[in-house]
Amino acid sequence: MTYNLGISKIDELIGDIKGGTNIMMIGPPMSGKDDITNIIAYHGLINKNAAVIVSTREPGNNVLDWFESRDLSIPSEHIGIVDCVTRTLGFGAPDTENIKMASSPVDLTGIGVKISQFFERFWMEMQLKETRLCINSLSTILMYSNLQTVFRFLHVFTGRVKAANALGVYVIEDGMHDDKTIVTLKQLFDGMIEIREKDDGYQMRATGFASKPTPWFDYEIDGVNIILRG
């Protein structure tokens, strides 16, 4: 069981990513991490993977809209969104087929339960054996819970990703956390997608997948395509 990110040059350089891999994506604000996360999920969806997206920054409906607004012919029943935002805004929205509500980003128990429920549905009921779990973002969770708490949570769920041969992608805002936090969390991941600001744009590279990091690439996001240059 292997995965690709859907970012062509980087996929070529790092080769197939084996099932059970957990990846940290770290980059500065406004660098398009939301889009990149959704594109990684989208790339799985068009390849008959399931996608579970934990959204801590915007309501689940917005995440669904991202896919719908791009008129993507993906199987919507393969998407599961854990919405950690709507109920903190005081809206008592019930769970739907695609969106399960956690109480807040503090509610790690609830987030964990909802992730598990989607995994069970995709794996057991729909027989989708390849699942991508995207948590966007850990930084919001870290705003409300301390590092130790988030580490415990991730320790459990990176383990679940491994057990299920899934692919985990966890987004972190660069510059929001101290070095200790990043170093501590890094221990849980098998590889990283790093994003940095360069001149007027942004660059990305992948590390930890091969003996050497990939080169830095300028990139541009066009719909569901990430175009790399350099």
């Binding site: 903190t88 008592g92 503090v106 509610d107 339960v113 598990s116 069970e120 459990v156 679940r160």
Partner: protein
């Protein structure tokens, strides 16, 4: 005794939770746990008592909505449904609740609010902590363990029942041992059966200090509406051709489907039952001999069996016993459904017992499946037998 609201659990706890005692729902991460505390809380207020819900990770405005998702209208209980707001202070929001924890990441602040609400209650009440693990994350393991001891002692003083939802994240071994061991009067384990993913959930009592522990694990599902329901993943319905198996499955089920041809089952009947706190998936077999290989296939991993008989047709009784053998059901709880009791010539259960040479305590239930008469009595008896057998 305060009931937990989950009848099977109350049985395991020998009637419920005595006043002044504490109980922790100790859950494996990823397994739905909070609903247990909610169900206990709702049971208390719906029976005329008072319930106090200590929220730590949910906006208090959402609490009543969360109860409503399970079909529990908390709003109608007014001031008998009390919320201690341990969340708003964390996110810097204003609270309209009477009891507010000013600094939720300080165990002393929490203790102050908890003691206040316990003192204010004019009758023994149920206090439910939405998430003890969140409190532990915020206040630290050691401070929380100390606070729990204080809360439990205070609850005992006022005869309140105190209930914690706890997710067993990888805290220190000492902390987990305390929570699972000596800090509360009772521990209910809530776990998941894992194979790549969690595909089934169970609960079982690990400890009570007021009676002997009933060492059983019970599978459950969480329904919305409905809450925690004991779940029997497979009940088999078998019996000779034309005994009324499909009719029985449909009569018992809240939803069902049959694979049949020309009015007779050729593959299986499937039904889902939701009755008296139990939920079950039931599978009906074909009755004709040429389908016997299917019967054997369907019977794998069944937890109990209904053997359906046409009470007017003694000629098929030998075949009925043969079908039980095919299912390889040795040792499984079996309930014999004496169907078609409304027809002329139907044998009574005792006559059937003699014809089949069954033991005196083998349950034979008179049923008219077409009018649903007796079908739920038969279900109740089988569920009791399955639970007694400890086969779940």
């Amino acid at each position: 005794m305060m009931k937990t609201g989950i009848p099977a659990l109350d049985d395991h706890l020998h009637g419920g939770i005595p006043r002044g005692k504490s109980l922790v729902y100790y859950a494996y991460p990823g397994v739905e746990c909070n609903v247990f505390g909610m169900q206990t809380m709702y049971r208390a207020v719906s029976e005329g008592g008072r319930g106090i819900y200590v929220t730590s990770s949910t906006d208090p405005r959402m609490i009543r909505d969360q109860f409503a998702e399970f079909g529990w209208d908390a709003a109608k209980y007014g001031d008998r449904f009390v919320i201690v707001d341990g969340f708003s202070g964390l996110v810097g929001a204003n609270s309209s609740e009477q009891y507010v924890v000013s600094t939720p990441d300080d165990a002393d602040s929490l203790t102050q609010a908890i003691k206040q609400v316990m003192e204010d209650m004019d009758e023994p009440s149920v206090i439910v902590f939405e998430s003890l693990s969140t409190i532990m994350d915020l206040c630290g393991e050691s401070a929380t363990l100390d606070a729990i001891e204080e809360w439990n002692q205070y609850a005992m003083l006022y005869d309140h029942v105190i209930v914690y939802n706890f997710t067993a994240w990888p805290y220190s071994e000492d902390t987990l041992a305390h929570v699972k061991g000596d800090i509360c009067n009772s521990v209910v384990l809530i776990g998941g059966i894992v194979e790549k993913v969690i595909f089934s959930q169970y609960f079982g009592v690990k400890k009570t200090d007021w009676d002997e522990v009933t060492k059983k694990c019970t599978l459950y599902k969480v329904l919305k509406p409905g809450g925690v329901r004991v779940y029997l993943p497979k009940i088999l319905v078998t019996g000779p051709f034309d005994a009324g198996k499909s009719t029985f499955v449909h009569a018992l089920s809240t939803r069902s489907v049959s694979v049949d041809r020309l009015g007779t089952t050729v593959a299986l009947d499937y039904g889902h039952v939701d009755h008296k706190g139990f939920t079950a998936d039931i599978f009906g077999t074909p009755g004709q001999e040429r389908f016997d290989p299917i019967v054997k296939l369907l019977s794998g991993e069944a937890m109990g069996i209904f053997l359906i008989l046409d009470s007017t047709n003694t000629g098929d009784f030998v075949r009925a016993k043969r079908m039980l053998e095919i299912t390889e059901s040795m040792g499984l709880p079996v309930v014999i459904v004496a169907n078609k009791q409304d027809l002329e010539g139907a044998l009574t259960p005792e006559e059937i017992r003699r014809e089949l040479d069954m033991a005196h305590d083998a349950p034979i239930i008179p049923v008219v499946a077409t009018s649903r008469e007796g079908v739920f009595e038969a279900f109740d008896v089988l569920v009791d037998r399955v639970m007694e057998a400890g086969s779940i």
